[in-house]
């Protein structure tokens, strides 16, 4: 069973739309969940992280974890063309090892 699963997309939305990106994970022991953004030909950069269940908001971005269903979400409000990138969900294993999903490619068109 894959540890973190993510729909690869691509997801194409118009500017201003609300975007919902999702992942599922298999191991209920996972506690920390992250969202990384990766622009083309660049390394991943951390957007947000959450611990256990609940929501965390940062500007236009909201991360949500539902541990009962092992579901991780990232919402982007008022999406912009500059948000076009691949979004990677990840969880932390043994404090040293990030386990990534495959990434969802998002395109926001003007």
């Amino acid at each position: 069973q894959k540890e973190v699963e993510q729909d690869p997309g691509p997801l194409s939305v118009p500017e201003g739309a609300i975007v919902s990106l999702n992942c599922t994970y298999s191991n209920s022991a996972f506690q920390y969940f992250m969202w990384y953004r990766q622009y083309s030909r660049k390394g991943p950069e951390l957007l947000m992280y959450t611990y256990s269940s609940g929501n965390k908001e940062d500007g236009r971005f909201t991360a949500q974890v539902d541990k009962s269903s092992k579901y991780i979400s990232l919402f982007i409000r008022d999406s912009q063309p500059s948000d076009s990138a691949t979004y990677l969900c990840a969880t932390l294993f043994n404090t040293d090892k990030l386990i990534f999903g495959t990434g969802t490619r998002l395109q926001v068109f003007p």
Binding site: G43, L46, T95, D96
Partner: protein
């Protein structure tokens, strides 16, 4: 803004050759990592390094791989005898401490092509 830098950006090598990928982590960071991403696949953990020793490694990180911090600033990944399946983008990352959970700063990657 401080950043992780990696060289070379792209290296082409013949199967069986040795390759060294170099990274300069952010200067006050203490934890160093290598990840790789085969085209179209997930970013995968290879190894973590702290206090001049490997703290964790994945099953991918076999005897053909080694890491070193030779001079207090560079952090290198060596592949002794490259195989076709080593072709991937290799990302170096660093973090300040473990309290910053999951906050790894990644370089732009070194693309390795093995022919």
């Amino acid at each position: 803004e401080p950043e992780v830098t990696q060289t070379p950006s792209h290296q082409v090598t013949q199967m069986g050759q040795e390759v060294i990928l170099r990274c300069v982590p952010i200067s006050n960071h203490l934890y160093f990592y290598w990840y790789r991403q085969i085209l179209g696949q997930k970013v995968e953990f290879l190894v973590s390094f702290y206090n001049n020793e490997i703290s964790e490694k994945s099953e991918i990180f076999d005897d053909q791989f080694s890491v070193e911090r030779p001079d207090g600033s560079n952090f290198t990944l060596k592949i002794r005898s490259t195989k076709l399946e080593d072709s991937a983008m290799y990302f170096c990352a660093s973090s300040e401490d473990r309290e910053e959970i999951g906050e790894l700063f990644f370089g732009e990657g070194s693309r390795l092509t093995v022919l």
